[in-house]
Symmetry: D2
Subunit: 345 residues, 4 copies
């Protein structure tokens, strides 16, 4: 018996990636994709990779009843329309920021407040590596932010394995691709202005800093740079533990945390061209690569993590969480590997 | 019952792409990948996307017996080792140029001759759109060149549909990505020298010109340019028919040729950003996009085609042909769609 | 005595490039740069390379009196405001399409007609290689289109040197960078959609086809592709002469045409990485590179030309023409060479 | 009276950039460029932007007597050949690492020792912003490393202006282009492997860490990432002062340090697309951009600096220092501004 799914906000990059994943997922059948601006147009006219799909965008005011609704609307829309989403679907997976922070004060401090703060306690954070136990049966799931996801996956093993206890100095320097900005455009996003950049972006006070702190329980000094790739987010975490940490300690922590995770892969100092995590090595896949080095002279740990922001950083994470929530095998529809060679991709 | 497969020459880009495809193919089991230079090293050490594979390169002198052997060796190796390949495998699929041209004189004119010309009549050209009927049961299959494939797929409908009869003027201007040059490197292939180029490459006398002429039966004026992408080949064919051709004639020819083809998709003048064939729209997939415009003032037809050179232009074509040769459903293991947005990929 | 200059429409890419050139030009003093949208803002706030300039954009309604006014406004504006431009300046150099075609019927056929057709006979085409003799003293100069410039510079030697007489088949396949589209933006121009493309653009009926025909006196089959670079235009011309042409004939024609030209350089089949014209090799400079091969089996000549579309293809050409018009040494302010290595640049 | 100059090691990227600068410098005349591998070949055959130069590479064993010799040889060569260089030239400017560190122990710790440690005290560090007072008349000048230069220029104002006193925690996260790796090549440098990367490179123990510490007098936690640009180095410095620092304090320090520097430009939080330092905004120029933000919640200062690694990070810095050493106006031959728009360049 097929599980029906809809994508609300299907013209954006995240919506398109979800349509691609759901279209190739053996358990889901996409019955609706909505778009205000492109209503009645074919999905393939916006997402050329989906030209084979026999589906047209429909008006978001008329939501079909489905088993799962994926909301890919801009921040602020889900909190306004959440009752209608929940009326239409038994399970709502939201890919915006609207339900991903655990308490209203985060929204007061970093966004324009929250309309439905009482729902925040109901929402489950989608990242299975952090919150798998609470996902089965969840009916409101909130995908994490891409930069936050890259950072959390990188740093998570340091907590709970006797390496960090919270409060230590952590600098997180993130490099992201242009798909993170969405399909909109504007002068700063144009090819001529955006190609070849190393562009500081929200050098302080980035909203994902709050998300990381909310889920790791410690503050981080967070800065994001736009670089010349399309998909991909890479977090380099400079960590200063109170006591010396050996490479063996680190391997113990990371293996302990991740050895059974289907979508986390270690890449830490081997030979060849790809010795540490790189967005290129995971682009197109739901894999997060994680690696590290220890730097005794500076009493520092350097942790690298890399994801495809469209996959592990949004649509892939959402489908992964939906698989867990609905009781499917976790990797269903997400088993595709990356490519070599590949661009960004 | 699983079909066993081996990849001879597994460290190059084509070999890696084949390993990726075979690893995800439900009918094939990869039992061997050979490499002289990387023997005993893991496949994942060379191809980071395949870090999950539990496979090490082995010496090419010791070939396992398999059902299908895919040869990804440099031009000239297959013709020298073909007997050993055929001893090891019931079916040999060669991805080099060694068996793709139909007669010895092509090798005399465009390569350094051929060691085993008597085998050329046995070899079947891998492109199913051109040669599907001869592939079932074939035991020596030769994948086409990537530029030739893009061109042939673009121009094929013009023959046999009363548009061209052979002998008309055709200019083919191809743009290709850097993966075409293989994994080697060298100064011209370095990032600093190769990024951002529009670089004429073999402006006259390109070897694929002969391949196109061999299979289309007419000569083409062929020029290749390197451009800044990694995967992808795009052919723009400027065609001058003897008599006026309407858009309706063209649609008739292309629909007639391709409406049942699983891996050819029309993209011809619709709306949106992606109106004509683009390598970006097919990257990571085995799809060839084809489209056209008519230009009455210049008595010209302009035909565009775009492929991922690693897929439809080599490894994907090889697996497609192997599927047909061995009686599997054609699209098995090749159903992945492309991405949006995406780089090159 | 300094020559005063103004730039009308200074926020676009062409306007910014002109400001850069004029700022470094020993004969010109920039006294005004206008912008409707950015009035009162600093030039450096829009063009970060010009942060050192002590200049703010002013309202285009208040034009200062200057010796030379460079108009970088969108197509259609110059023909509307030309009287005001001429009132303000003794010499007007227009970088839009408004005065570059020699007769009104071109505007009727390829644009929305022309408001001031009587001025077309007064306007001088800016390309010195084609029209140097008419530039001295000209008071209305119209810069050529970038694709047309690349093509004309490539093909010009074939006429007047007994190689072509007009009427022969010529296919021109152009590859251009994203700066050609201007500073605007929009979804198709966004980094995510525009990176890594080989995108057919105006495959037939491109407006520059008319410009080429107007100045070369023969028709060309013209197709443009967007590729992944920012600056640069490359034209590959596939030419079919009536009679055989030798390499020596070609060298004779090209040397004859260009040996004394300060901004045309031959690059034709030497060794090294850069054997033919490439946009990379001229980026940032006013140089056009030209080269060729002969292809006897196809009775074809292949001509390559490459320019920086912001320089030789617009702002550099405009300054070059202004130098000639005003009696300065031709290369004044334009002597900068390109870079190696370099991106697009 | 012209000052004669030679470039030893003229085929590499740094050597080519020096030749470009010297060729356009009104005070210098290039009389020799050496190359072992390309002896007797034209400079333009290797550096296509220099096709106009009438110069052939000569054998490095036969050094002409010149006023200034610029050594662009691989690390280790200059210390071996320094006596011959000094015999040939009154002033030697070395662009390798051989004389840039102030004491032998740095070479023992980070390189393979030093052959001529007694000369280290004679060598002057080329960066005028740090060492201007010692450059006039210097006869052995050593250009800084590109990553070190970007970092030192960024952090320098924090010392001596009551913000840092040494010993505070500083994390430096650098992003660099592919030209930094030189003209060689190899698999990791190939376009297919190097495009679109965010690749950790020497995540700990990078040699430039020692150089920074030598000249700033404090340790830094230093990590370099390769990103997809050709020219450019960007340093993001996360600084943790002992006491709160205000934005006003920072402006005071940076203005105090740099207001009279011809090649340092502030870019700190203004409007528009380019709000902080970016390699794109300085590419092709000798300008270093510097900017900052304060982050009170994390008790952090974030300092950004961006340079063109071929210019301010090597050849431009070398010419700048030579200008000072020889008594020319500092900006002679280095006044070219950058470009907009531009790639990497």
């Amino acid at each position: 018996m097929t599980t029906t799914a809809s994508v609300v906000g299907g013209t954006g990059f995240t919506g398109g990636e979800l349509l691609r994943l759901l279209d190739g997922h053996p358990e889901f059948a996409v019955v609706q994709a909505t778009s205000r601006s492109e209503a009645n147009k074919t999905v393939g006219g916006v997402h050329p990779n989906l030209r084979h799909m026999n589906l047209r965008f429909s008006d978001p005011e008329d939501l079909d009843s489905v088993d799962v609704l994926f909301a890919c609307t801009p921040h602020g829309v889900s909190m306004e329309r959440i009752d209608r989403f929940r009326d239409a679907a038994g399970t709502v997976v939201d890919l915006s920021a609207d339900f991903r922070l655990p308490a209203a004060e985060y929204y007061d401090d970093h966004y324009d407040g929250h309309d439905r703060p009482e729902l925040l306690a109901e929402a489950e954070y989608a990242l299975p590596e952090l919150n798998r136990e609470n996902l089965p049966g969840a009916d409101l799931v909130a995908a994490g932010g891409c930069n936050a996801t890259a950072t959390i996956v990188g740093l998570l093993p340091l907590f709970g394995h006797d390496i960090l206890s919270g409060g230590e100095r952590i600098v997180v320097d993130v490099k992201v691709g242009s798909s993170e900005g969405g399909a909109g455009g504007g002068a700063a996003a144009s090819h001529a202005e955006r190609s070849g950049v190393v562009r500081p972006y929200a050098p302080t006070g980035h909203r994902h800093e709050a998300e990381i702190e909310a889920y790791l329980g410690t503050s981080v000094s967070f800065t994001v740079h736009a670089v010349d790739m399309i998909r991909g987010a890479s977090a380099t975490c400079h960590v200063f533990p109170d006591d010396p940490v050996s490479k063996g300690d680190m391997w113990g922590a990371y293996r302990g945390q991740y050895e059974d995770e289907p979508f986390v892969r270690m890449a830490s100092g081997g030979g060849g061209v790809y010795r540490y995590p790189e967005p290129k090595a995971v682009a197109g896949s739901n894999v997060a690569e994680v690696g590290f080095e220890v730097d005794p002279p500076n009493e520092r740990l350097v942790v690298f993590s890399a994801i495809d922001n469209m996959m592990k950083g949004s649509a892939g994470q959402a489908v992964h969480a939906a698989n867990v929530a609905l009781g499917f095998e976790e990797t269903t529809g997400l088993a595709a590997t990356g490519f070599h060679p590949i661009g960004s991709p």
